[in-house]
């Protein structure tokens, strides 16, 4: 399902993207990207959580309702979760939520789950830039302010 087209025509649009990063892998990758002085879009905001499995439907939907144009959730590679299997649960919940998003007229593409290990600083920077660019093309979050809170 695609968002209303007319809103995405503005090339000046700077998307607001929230990244929920797992403390043990992707947050460390983000630090590494920083240490390597890679460029991260300034509209991307990091929120640290202990494990990708903490990211539940409520948190994601609320973040969209609050006006995020895109959400990136990033955790450890399958098998590497610090807490055993958290990222498998995250993946399962994601699949469910994508369906819910369709019913809300939100393009499921606005939500992405990726695995980035602590060693993948370069990849982190790429993933964030690519995702931000994708959201820029999709345009602003179509939920108007009356449905937001």
């Amino acid at each position: 399902m695609k968002d209303k087209k007319e809103k995405s025509s503005n090339s000046e649009f700077t998307p607001k993207v929230v990244g929920f990063l797992c403390n043990w892998c992707t947050y460390a990758a983000a630090d590494l990207a920083g240490g390597s002085r890679l460029e991260i879009p300034s509209s991307f905001s990091v929120v640290r959580v202990m494990c990708s499995s903490r990211i539940d439907h409520n948190l994601l939907l609320t973040t969209f309702f609050k006006g995020a144009d895109g959400i990136l959730v990033a955790g450890c590679h399958p098998g590497d979760c610090h807490y055993g299997e958290g990222n498998y649960y995250a993946r399962r919940r994601f699949a469910q939520l994508k369906k819910v998003m369709e019913t809300l007229d939100l393009d499921p593409e606005r939500l992405e789950l990726v695995w980035v290990s602590a060693a993948e600083g370069n990849r982190y920077a790429e993933v964030v830039s690519d995702f931000t660019e994708k959201i820029r093309k999709l345009g602003p979050n179509p939920m108007n302010s009356s449905t937001r809170f």
């Binding site: 929230v18 460029e39 991260i40 300034s42 609320t62």
Partner: protein, 561 residues
């Protein structure tokens, strides 16, 4: 009491101060009215993690009577605990503080000074907004029991016990069999590397039995395990007398070994009890006991086939040790019976880096015949095989020896349940992390060693055993107290319907049902605060104390402002 939030932005030399307009940030935040009736003190400092910096911060918290603290500096992975410790010296609870990473996530990754300044403002606002919703948490150190339980008295279990006893730890070994030694005990002199003398296993057993720090229960099995790192309560039962003994310990080492794969007719191995077909353990026992190698008819065999990789196809992994075992077997037979003709049917030969090649070369030079095949089967003592080029063949032998794969011991599923430790896709116990933490498990305080973890040789089994002993020695110090994670999850009783969803989700088994009250309860000593259960509760009864919805929502609000 009115909140008074201290916001301290670290210059970190040019790292932060050189890439943002700090004065502008300070003025902006000081005048920011978005937090209601909250007093903000916003200041900057050179290097907050320096000793002067820490003293400065400590004094500020005290003198100004701060109720919350936000430090805008570097990654929490560098200095979160630094500033937590500073809070610990003052009236301020360390959980009412938050570090904001404006170096790694802002000044180092955003080149444009104006943009970096705006981003730093946004991250700092998010930090202030969040910290106002954090609550005090209190770390309560608990007494730990330094004693260790070792389940299984093979080489791995014995080596771990000795390493611990060497540091004066009390160790109890609970062994199912009537002797210590496990497989190596039966191998006696039969082994490929250091264990080339039968006395070595015997000496190890004697040392164990003579060590005042080590208590051994033979013919016994563990029947109940409750508790957590530092405080386990164990029950084990004597298989003979059925007497149950209680035991208290702080950590557990599982060293219960592996079994041998049993062939099936479906996989092409058709033979009966009366055929001269033996697995690697049976021939090994025959050789190490010094008995004659004879057929069931009493005659000496003229031809022997050794079939490699038995079970590998079905199991999907290579057992690593069987090739070496079979090289050694062939060499020992040849040394005693030079006239017996031996043929090895192999798929590929997997040998350990040290010593393996020599065993192989010796087998070759003593005239052992090697046939590379794609697959093998058996009909009595006739070996059926498919050659590399696809041709099928069969050959009769007097005796057949099977290099059977190592498989998880049959007690593994029950122990997995009892100890709350998972098994991997092969069915062996799973390590916490294959590369970085290979003898720990997802249950704090429970370790796995030796072949209970997967196929390996004696020296590797012993090496991992010493590694796990080392971890216990450094983790559970005698007389020290342990500080359990306090940023854990709680269940709000009023909302909980006792549905049990969260129980299934927690890999640590930290949640248990309180049937009388119809609710579930988190054992805070076990919970790690990962937050996985949060999303599983249909009634919103779960709350991960340092990562609540409201805390994260407030952070998101400011990020999106």
């Amino acid at each position: 009491m009115k909140a008074k939030v201290g916001v301290y932005v670290c210059e970190c030399g040019p790292n932060i101060a050189g890439k943002t307009d700090l004065d502008e940030i300070i003025t902006y935040l000081s005048e920011f009215r978005g937090f209601g009736d909250v007093e903000l003190v916003v200041r900057k400092y050179g290097f907050l993690c320096s000793n002067q910096g820490k003293e400065y911060l400590e004094k500020e918290i005290r003198d100004l009577g701060l109720t919350h603290l936000v430090v805008g500096a570097c990654s929490p992975r560098d200095h979160d605990s630094t500033f937590k410790d500073v809070c610990g010296k003052t009236q301020l609870n360390p959980y009412l503080y938050k570090i904001i990473n404006i170096r790694e996530h802002c000044t180092w990754v955003i080149d444009d000074m104006d943009k970096a300044t705006e981003k730093a403002k946004s991250y700092l606002r998010a930090g202030i907004a969040r910290v106002l919703y954090q609550s005090e948490l209190f770390e309560s150190p608990i007494d730990v029991n330094p004693d260790v339980l070792v389940i299984g008295g093979g080489v791995a279990g014995m080596e771990a016990a000795l390493a611990l006893a060497g540091e004066n730890r009390s160790v109890t070994i609970v062994e199912k069999n009537d002797t210590l030694g496990g497989r190596a005990g039966k191998l006696r002199g039969f082994s490929f590397q250091e264990f080339n003398k039968p006395e070595q296993v015997e000496k190890l057993i004697e040392t164990i039995l003579g060590n005042p720090c080590i208590n051994v229960f033979l013919d016994s099995e563990v029947t109940s395990v409750i508790g957590f790192l530092g405080n386990f309560e164990i029950e084990h039962v004597s298989l003979e007398s059925k007497v149950i003994t209680e035991l208290f310990c702080g950590s557990i080492i599982t060293a219960t070994g592996a079994d041998l794969y049993e062939t099936t007719e479906e996989s092409g191995f058709k033979y009966s009890e009366s055929d001269d077909v033996y697995n690697s353990m049976e021939i090994t026992e025959m050789l190490s006991s010094g008995d004659e190698i004879t057929l069931r008819s009493g005659k000496e065999p003229e031809t022997i086939a050794i079939v490699h990789c038995v079970g590998r196809e079905e199991l999907g992994y290579c057992s690593g040790v069987c090739c070496t075992v079979m090289m050694k077997t062939a060499n020992m037979i040849k040394a005693r019976y030079p006239d017996i003709r031996i043929t090895q049917f192999y798929r590929d030969i997997c040998l350990p880096p040290s010593g393996g090649q020599e065993l192989y070369a010796a087998a070759r030079s003593s005239g052992v015949n090697f046939v590379k095949v794609q697959s093998t089967g058996l009909s009595g003592t006739t070996v059926k095989f498919k050659e590399k080029n696809g041709d099928e063949g069969e050959q009769f032998f007097d005796m057949v020896l099977l290099a059977s794969a190592l498989v998880p011991s049959k007690d593994t599923p029950a122990l997995s349940e009892l100890l709350g430790i998972p098994v991997d896709e092969t069915g062996f116990f799973q390590e916490a992390h294959r590369m970085t933490n290979p003898s720990a498990t997802t249950t704090d305080g429970v370790f796995i060693v030796g072949t209970s973890q997967g196929p390996r040789n004696i020296s590797d089994s012993m090496l991992f055993a010493r590694a796990s002993a080392g971890q216990i020695l450094t983790k559970l110090l005698v007389g020290e107290k342990l500080v359990p994670e306090v940023a854990v999850t709680e269940i709000l009783e009023a909302y909980c319907t006792g549905c049990g969803n969260c129980l299934d989700v927690c890999v640590y088994g930290a949640i248990y049902p309180d049937e009388a009250r119809g609710i579930s309860i988190v054992n805070e000593a076990i919970c790690r605060g990962c937050g996985n259960c949060y999303g599983s509760c249909p009634s919103g009864a779960l709350r991960t104390k340092h990562f609540t919805n409201i805390q994260l929502f407030r952070e998101v609000d400011e990020a999106l402002r």
